[in-house]
Symmetry: C2
Subunit: 487 residues, 2 copies
């Protein structure tokens, strides 16, 4: 009982307990690398894993009696937000225990940046960290990505957030009335695809002479659209082959995962019929061509390098991955402005990408055009169509509300970061790059900078923005609304 509203706290705690056990298990996964490359502190992952799993176990034991299996929307919201916060809190343990990141604020920033698949880092010298810790750092992305797939495809549509119920209608699976088996089955299928793609990418990176360690870490960072690298120079030091592999898999990671499911079942025509996917592909290639030509003319780059760098940077930003092969802030005049605007785009709905999302922008653009038509013919009913079906007005309404709140938070965030004394570009850049779960922004947090020098309060605030952006705003904001806690 909390101010009159009954919340099934036991079930929430059980769920989080279960998650912590899983998190502990993932910490153990890095131990082989800790041992193989062992310098000092090589048992910090073991200790962290034990603490985390044990905490989870205690939670499960404490709540094992008389719990109610009924789970409502309220519990859904609480579970989603607190899962990300609590696994991020425990996720700091390897950094703190190994001493790789001794400061708690920095460790939390790095961890939530991992779990939200942002990839914003406070580390000045990544390569100096023990390999086991770097493995944990990269695997936080991968775990986050798994969470996002379930969240965006199975949970958010049910909660009705930001118009995300729109594409569930086209989702493969049993009849929509059977909710529970549907969620479980969908999650399993899409996780299968996520795991397969991760291992295929790892294999292709190994073929390019990457070590197993680097290949796994970069595959985790790619498929989760995260962006943590094991190298100080991100992807810039790797061969063109490696860069092309990552380009292709970033595109995959930014695609709606239900389309991968369709593609694997040979329904390629249906994939191409998907308007969001087409828009996503057209956008990427159109912008890349513009940047390629500009780089060739203005910077005298070779054709191959220009096309590779522009493709890589455009895709990395649109999918909100944040890997870097070129310092786009050093590009001539307007080119980095294009990159900046792309930071508002985001991946496809139902991908691991963050940001506003292609689907929402597509519908908002369509609706803007329709709005003009509606002014000309005020009595006619002029609906927005998506994939040849009429989109209900209330979904457009929800999408517009989402966009509006996104922009308000962006403006507010920029303001807060200015308040902390950051210059204009860094304030804007750090806000858009964390809210959009990208990682590198503009100003001092650009591709050659990092978040080390952001003031302490700023790091907590940006951590909050990462969470807000990752959980599609409403999931977090609703918990701050007094109405949520009233009956």
């Amino acid at each position: 009982m909390l101010n009159g509203v009954k919340i099934n706290i036991k079930l929430i705690l059980r769920f989080i307990g279960f998650l912590l056990i899983v998190e502990g298990f993932f910490m153990f996964l890095g131990i082989p690398f800790s041992l193989y490359y062992c310098g000092n502190n090589c048992n910090s992952l073991l200790i962290s894993g034990l603490i985390t799993s044990f905490s989870g176990l205690i939670l499960l034991l404490l709540t094992r009696k008389n719990y109610n299996k009924n789970i409502g929307k309220r519990e859904g919201y609480i579970i989603v937000t607190f899962s990300w916060i609590i696994i991020s809190l425990f996720g700091t343990l390897p950094f703190l225990i190994s001493g790789a990141i001794p400061d708690f604020t920095n460790a939390f920033f790095e961890t939530i940046s991992g779990f939200t698949t942002t990839g914003a880092s406070i580390l000045n010298d990544i390569e100096s960290l023990p390999k086991g810790i770097l493995f944990w750092r990269s695997i936080t992305h991968w775990i986050g990505g798994m969470g996002i797939i379930v969240l965006s495809i199975a949970i958010l549509p049910v909660l009705g957030i930001g118009g995300m119920q729109l594409y569930t209608a086209e989702m493969p699976g049993p009849a929509p009335d059977k909710l529970h088996p549907r969620i479980t089955q969908t999650a399993k299928r899409l996780w299968g695809i996520y795991i397969i793609l991760t291992f295929v990418e790892t294999g292709l990176l190994l073929l390019g002479n990457m070590s197993l360690f680097d290949a796994l870490c970069h595959a985790f960072g790619t498929m989760a659209t995260g962006g943590f690298s094991t190298q100080n120079s991100s992807i810039a030091g790797y061969s063109p082959y490696i860069q092309y592999v990552i380009i292709v898999f970033m595109i995959f990671a930014g695609t709606n995962f239900t389309l991968h499911y369709l593609a694997l079942h040979g329904k390629l025509k249906k994939v191409w019929q998907n308007e969001e996917f087409r828009y996503y592909v057209y956008l990427i290639f159109l912008v890349s061509i513009i940047i390629t030509i500009s780089l060739i003319i203005l910077s005298n780059e070779s054709f191959e390098r220009a096309i590779r760098e522009s493709l890589f940077q455009v895709i990395s930003i649109v999918t909100t991955t944040g890997y870097v092969t070129a310092n786009y802030l050093g590009w001539p005049g307007l080119l980095w402005m294009i990159i900046f605007l792309l930071m508002f785009v985001g991946g496809c709905a139902g991908s691991t990408g963050g940001g506003i999302k292609i689907l929402r922008q597509l519908l908002l653009f369509k609706n803007s055009g329709m709005e003009l038509k509606r002014l000309i013919h005020p009595k006619a009913i002029i609906p927005v169509k998506y994939n040849r079906k009429t989109v209900p007005q209330d979904i457009i309404f929800k999408i517009m509300a989402f966009f509006l709140i996104y922009i308000i938070i962006f403006a507010f965030g920029t303001f807060v970061m200015s308040l902390l004394g950051l210059d204009f570009e860094t304030a804007i850049g750090s806000t858009v790059a964390t809210l959009g779960n990208i990682g590198p922004g503009i100003g001092n947090v650009g591709p050659e900078g990092n978040y080390a020098n952001i003031p302490e309060f700023g790091k907590w605030f940006l951590s909050f923005l990462m969470l807000l952006g990752r959980l599609e705003l409403f999931t977090v904001l609703i918990l701050l609304s007094p109405a949520f806690w009233r009956k």
Copy 2:
């Protein structure tokens, strides 16, 4: 007949002819000042006025036969947009003929900046211009303001643009079904208020030892929320008394003019019951207090000066006037960031102020809060209330579409200005300050800069943004839509 749609071109031409005759008359108004202060070229206003009136007369004569008095929405859109363009074209004549601004691009920029009540200037040395020409420059604001009052209170609500039909319900006047007499009567009443306020301000400025010439010019610039001054230092060189007078009248100019009507009829309680007005007053005073305290602490300014400068700058930007008493870009850290964010606010609906407008933002904020409640209670109907009445969902929808298109144009504008080689802050600043009809922005077009060094194409593009912002986006955009020209 234009591609199948029948447009009453004769009536449109007659209307524009009539406007040109009025415009010519306003040009003559500056002649006394031309003669009194005469240096050289003192008959340029006379010549310009004759050309303009004569052109209008010819249009009236050419269309006097067989014209149809029926006017539809299509004609309404065309008349509004083309009126502003054509009076701006003829409005360049005094600048060109006198040689005060010999370049056509610059003259057009300055004139449309006047008629759209923006106040962005390309002049480096305002004081070197002949007084008659400066009078014309200031009166373009005042004419623009008259146009805006009719447009926003009588025409846009009828056209149903951007949710502006909302406050017409509370407008004084005859029954809403009698449209034509209502528009005429409303326009006359509100123009009466506009004229009275202008002359009261002129009188108060005269009491502060301003010359009649300066008093009139600054009263025109204030009441139209324009911002052209006759001094290079804008209002900074005038006495505190003068500055306080302008502060008060900027507040009046940014208020919905129907509230002035109510106030003049003693219904002050009803004025204060208006939610938009309360929000406007609270916002101005809250932000001014924050800036005052910061200026006292951080810049060691005296209390009176701090409060005067912060009130002046906050009100000047919120009302989109653009007069300057302090270089806000020189203020410590975040204070100019606050001013920058205020550039998106805009005056009240139904005022002469530009920008997004207080009313829209208020409703968008309210709706965002309601959206969270709707997620918690998805089956309940939770409407937005304004002035204790339920706001129809489709009005909120239109307002969201307006906001969205505003942001898209802002992003696109910033991109175009970057493309022309402007730095980030100047690109953002010039876009927001012209689209919002403010005048001074940030970067090189800040309070101590001007638009002289913007590339030629940029001046035409910014002129377009001024028109777009002034006419509430849709009025102009709809003319670019192919559907508008189809049957």
